[in-house]
Structure formats: C-alpha cells, structure tokens
Symmetry: C2
Subunit: 203 residues, 2 copies
C-alpha cells in the first residue's frame, strides 16, 4: 500500500536488499494478499490484474502466479480466508450469531467498505461470469463450514439466508449507502444484526 512498496520492481530472485530479511515467504504472501484486497476493492474483479497486484506488493508477476496460480484463486485468498471463517464459525452454536455479526462488522469497518466482497457483489450484479462462479465457490465453502457446527436438516437453506441477509446489508450500507443500515455506527450494527442472524440461523 505504501508508495515506496508500490513502486518497487525488484525481481523475486534478487530481492530489494533493504527488504531481504523482512520478506520471508509468509510475509510476501501476506503482502500479496493485502495488495490483492486493495486492488480488487478499487478496480473490481474484471479490471484488476495480477500485474497490478504484483506491482503494489513489490513482487514479480511470476511470484504471484507461483503462490496463487490464477486471478480467481488470488481473489478467493483475498476475501476472508477459510481459515478465518472457520475460526469464527467453530465454537458454541448459541454464540454463533454474535460472532458472525461482530466478525462481519469488524471486517467491513477495517476496510472502510472497500472490501473485495463489495467488489464481488458489484461484479456479479454487472453480469461478470467469472465473478458469479467465484461467488458460488465462496458460498459452497462457507456452507461446508457451517455444516460442521450447526446441525439440522435445513442448514443449507438457513446458511443461504444468512448469506443473502449479509449481501443485502452490504448492498444497503456500502453500495447504496443510504437508509438506516448506512447510518448506524459499527456497534449499533452489531446489536441490530445479532438477533436477526440468530432468528435465521437458530430458529
């Protein structure tokens, strides 16, 4: 995100000397993911390029490909990872609605509404086929995790409804940016979402 980093064009095999020690593989991966989040959020899925992500992260195009394989996979890595999502979902089902509400609000707040999730909603609504497939993959992944935590025969439907509700909240608050949902503070939003998510998830 910093200008100096964004301008860096050091080859991966000949890293910028000043960064050699701090740029271990894990840190590099994190920098690429961070750059991808910003790029997808600003430019949308279709317009964003791996080259631009690499430029912002100060790494080569080849390194991004080696880590992530494709733009689709890079995108999936830039939205809340399965790892993070599992950490939210795992645990006592009774407190799940609170955790989902807090996690959603924290994440959107941290990105100031410039979240890849917003970019993806826009991309799907614009009829981008690749975005639609990505969205479906994300849904399926999160569904898998919910299934491990909450029992019930209609869990698929309930998780789909939670997803729909959060899509609509995101649309109102971060795309349309008008109405009560856009005016609430983060804390108010958590308090508002929690009982509604509970009603949908744990009827």
């Amino acid at each position: 995100m910093e200008a100096s980093q964004a301008e860096a064009t050091a080859d991966e095999d000949v890293p910028h000397p000043a960064k050699k020690r701090t740029r271990d593989p894990e840190a590099r991966r994190a920098a690429i993911v961070e750059a991808a989040r910003a790029t997808f959020a600003e430019q949308g899925f279709a317009k964003a390029t791996i080259r631009e992500v690499a430029r912002r992260a100060g790494v080569t195009h080849g390194l991004v490909i080696r880590h992530f394989g494709s733009k689709e996979r890079l995108f999936l890595a830039s939205v809340p990872s399965s790892h993070n999502l599992m950490a939210e979902i795992a645990g006592d089902p009774r407190s799940l609605p609170t955790r989902v509400a807090r996690s959603y609000v924290r994440r959107m707040s941290r990105s100031g509404g410039c979240d890849p999730f917003v970019a993806l909603i826009r991309a799907v609504a614009s009829g981008e086929g690749a975005a639609e497939r990505l969205f479906a993959v994300m849904q399926e992944e999160s569904l898998e995790m919910y299934r491990q935590v909450i029992p019930g025969p209609d869990i698929d439907q309930r998780v789909a409804s939670v997803g729909a509700y959060l899509i609509g909240v995101t649309f109102s608050r971060y795309v349309l940016k008008s109405g009560s949902l856009a005016e609430m503070s983060d804390d108010e939003l958590v308090r508002h979402l929690t009982p509604n998510l509970r009603g949908i998830l744990l009827p």
Copy 2:
C-alpha cells in the same frame, strides 16, 4: 408485448382505429406501465428509453411524458406501486410477514425474475447515480407505509433490514442464481421467508 402492438406507431391523437375503443386512458396507462416493466427489466435503467417504452406500448413518446413526466417517475410507476404495497402492508401486523413473503414471491414469480427490482439492483451495483436515487426514494416510500402499520421506536431499522434481506434474496435467486435460495420452489420460498421476515419485523 405483442409484436403487432410493439410495431404500432399510431399517434395518440389519431389512435389506431382497431384499438380506439379499448384504449381508454386507464388501459393506456396500464399498457405503458407494462411496457416499462419489460423494458427496464431487459435493458436496465440506464439504457432503457422512454421512446422504447412508448414503442412497445404502441403510444407516442409525448403521451408517456404526459402521463409520467420523466424516466425516473416511469420507473417508480413500473415497480410495485405504492397502492399495491399499501394493500400488502395494511392489516393485522401479526400476519404482515406472511403477506410480505407471499407478495414478494408472487411478484417475482410472475415476472420470471425479469423484474424492474432486479434491474435496479444491477443498476445500483454498477454505480448508476440515478438508480441510487431511485432506490432511496423507493425505500423511503415503503418505510412511510410500514410506519403506519407497525409501531415501535426502531421501526426504521427493522424495515431497512427487511429490505436488505429481500435485496439479498433477490440477488441470490435472480442475479447469482445459485445456492439453496435459487433452488427452492415458490411455495418453499414463502415458507422459508415468512419466519425470517417475522423475526426481523416483529421481534
């Protein structure tokens, strides 16, 4: 919608002889609204023109302007009218969730997902300023009506959440078209939505 009607270019003051008797002002207005629904749904808000709506309705551009004034007003008339919405909302608040669920599903089913509401969601997501203003006007209008029926200090927030939920359901079922919400039959969707709408509206 019929080809013969769509091709008609009769001037309003010299109506097509065959249609003279059936085209009273009320029927003409209904034909314009019907043509507008189809046009906005197919072409989206930005691309749709009053000229195209007039062509489909078999009336002149001037007549559409005289009835509706502008494309914005025509659009608002083509989504469920305030009159219809009030008919749904008025009545016993306890059965309101059922009525909202049925009304939503019936409307989307009738249009086969080609509803101006879908076009509007797409337009807002694409960043069309006019669409955003229209959406805000629609939200404010429906809010006014809910306020007359349901009491409570946080009614604005609850109605905003119902709106968000239905936006998300529409997005999942008619834009993304994947996942459980897209797979449900109309009856299943009504049964699924009703308790969730009740939980949000009447906690």
